[in-house]
Symmetry: C2
């Protein structure tokens, strides 16, 4: 007499978590220093000093009730305004606090948007490779998830595949740039082509097709790469954002849903997001963290450590013969599995206590993901294993 589909997803950990837990067990057996765990995308650099300064000054200087008390469901208006002011400054937009709804991270933001768009027969399209939890967020909240094959070898958007996936039931397309797992940033040209396709399909079907732009890695870029702001390219954009990665506060659960002021039915969409959030028990985002992200809206992460790891791993792996697109953002490498089956390859790697995530749940069973938010010393100890592994296939 319990809901079996809930129990099933409760029992089945994500493959990433599964691997991470395995790593912990192995560490207990053979020593942490002998496990090379590249599984989790957990920021490995401390939060910038502004974060803890904002926390300390809030609890020391401000009235307790204003720091820890309820805010409106959307969040403290002044703090939301600080976030939109930063976006307006960078992107030349005209967003106000009314466009932003603070959430407990990107995950419930995506769930709320999905529920807001969950009409009968709704479909939501995503291109592989994609963050595996999208499947849970979409399918457990009504819509069907439609998967578009990857665009090899650059992992930009597969426009032909996208067009084939769109139909009159399509309510939204989820995109994620910089991308987890590839680290690819969609170029302005890619986004403009997607926008043109969707606009044409909107006219054909007579209803909006929203882009849900999941952007936890927006600020995590290398070599000053530009991440085009999706609402500036496509009117019907809803941004789901998390401060987890940019401020190294993934445990604090703070993000937002942003309904662009150019969106069709802007107000109704926001009403539905507010209602969906209420239905899943959202009251407000953590109030102290609302203050942190308002005050730190302009703070950018220090990418030095991630960049070092990215280049070390990318250069070494490609020199051994691995195929991998060079990441321009985020903190992952998505690597083609020697032999073509990433599950087989990752099992082989596991025997060496080298933990890499096979790409099946990302929709790319021939690739594996490695996270670059790890200790540089671990990379050095792991590289000989990567080299030996590929040698077996030559």
């Amino acid at each position: 007499m319990i809901n079996e589909s809930m129990a099933a997803i409760g029992r089945s950990r994500s493959c990433i978590r599964e691997l991470f837990e395995y790593g912990n067990q192995q560490a207990a057996k053979v020593g942490r220093e002998n496990v090379y765990d590249f599984s989790l995308g957990n920021p490995s650099i401390p939060a910038p000093p502004e974060v803890d300064e904002a926390i300390i000054s809030a609890v020391r200087d401000l009235d307790s009730i204003s720091v820890h008390g309820y805010t409106s469901a959307a969040g403290n208006p002044a703090l939301r305004e600080m976030v939109t002011a930063d976006l307006n400054k960078r992107y030349g937009t005209n967003l106000t606090s009314f466009n932003i709804f603070f959430t407990c991270g990107a995950a419930p933001s995506i769930v709320s948007v999905v529920k807001a768009l969950a009409v009968d027969g709704a479909e939501i399209v995503v291109q592989a490779p994609f963050f595996p939890e999208y499947r849970v967020y979409v399918e457990m909240n009504g819509p069907k998830l439609v998967i578009v094959p990857p665009h090899y070898p650059d992992f930009q958007i597969n426009l032909a595949g996208m067009e084939a996936a769109l139909n009159a039931h399509t309510q939204a397309v989820i995109i994620n740039s910089p991308n987890n797992p590839t680290g690819v940033i969609y170029t302005k040209e890619t986004l403009q082509a997607l926008a043109a396709l969707l606009k044409r399909k909107e006219e054909e079907y007579g209803h909006p097709i929203y882009i849900i732009s999941d952007e936890p890695y927006r600020e995590l870029v290398y070599d000053n790469a530009e991440v085009p702001f999706v609402p500036s390219v496509y009117d019907d954009t809803i941004v789901c954002y998390s401060f987890s990665k940019a401020l190294s506060v993934p445990g604090e659960r703070i993000g937002y849903a942003l309904v662009a002021d150019t969106c069709t039915d802007e107000l109704a969409v926001m009403d539905a997001i507010v209602g969906a959030a209420r239905a899943i028990g959202h009251v407000c985002a953590p109030s102290l963290q609302q203050r942190v992200v308002g005050l730190c809206a302009g703070v950018r992460p220090d990418m030095k450590a991630y960049d070092h790891n990215r280049m070390r791993l990318y250069n070494a792996l490609t020199s051994y013969g691995y195929e991998c697109v060079k990441p321009e953002g985020a903190f992952y490498l998505f690597v083609k599995a020697p032999g073509g089956d990433a599950k087989v390859f990752s099992d082989k790697a596991k025997e060496r206590n080298l933990l890499i995530v096979p790409g099946k749940d990302f929709g790319c069973p021939d690739y594996f993901r490695i996270s670059t938010c790890v200790a540089p010393e671990m990379i050095e100890k792991a590289l000989p294993h990567f080299e030996e592994l590929i040698r077996e296939y030559k």
Copy 2:
């Protein structure tokens, strides 16, 4: 092409929020000091010093990643253990960290439990008066909400009404003691009688009927009143708890779901709660606040201010002729409306900028709720209005 039921609950604020916003508008017009707002149950005392001390010492003394990083979905095991240790000490239970799943407050905790129990045709029973958001949490997540009439005049459990409401589809009964809005604490005898009834019905229908015990006010009691621990009275109990009121941190969104170790299908129920939480985008509860509630598990609120307000209002209102059960916990008074229609009465009160919540959404249209978490000076200025209002009915 948006989900209309989500948009509808997004547009319709709760009657309490509606009144609160009206109060803010009136304050702008006639001055804050001329609005007597008894609408919100928002703690009016600062967080105990231990809360801010825990926050400051965490960000000052601990590693940033351990403070702000992801925890497991259920929460940091050591901090969960601190919470169960406090419960075990007080109630003689044998709970461990495995019984507790930290959530972003009681609201998503209740939603996750409802979704976990949401089988086809499921019904969840609640007795009036009840917290109006239960309707959203239950009906927007599948089950039917079945409402049992109040038990006048003591607002204990209406056992005959409860028995009439139970059937083979009943998955759970939500109880809330100390109660919002009445302030009544269910006695041990009441709970034992409910337990006996449910046990009999479990046998009759051949499946568990869970008590969902919503306990945000557990620590908020007067005159050392005892709040029986529901899992000690009834095996099939799931507790939904929030630290919002006990630690005056309602904006911080930290609470838990506790599946009693005596529950039928204990592990499967927890799996389903974990899965339901995942489906609504739960990743973990705010990590810094997990630390706060672990370290402050034994901290109790200072009830002096609430008690002063409770007694002043109770004594004054009853001396004017109002009928009201004397609250033993929480921070509300639930008062019978002179004339019998609380909407008419509260509209009359509104003309005097006296804001009280009519009981219709609580399932008691002949009562109104006033919150006692207000400034004592406001009470003194409001009392003559209460006195004049009832005089009109004599």
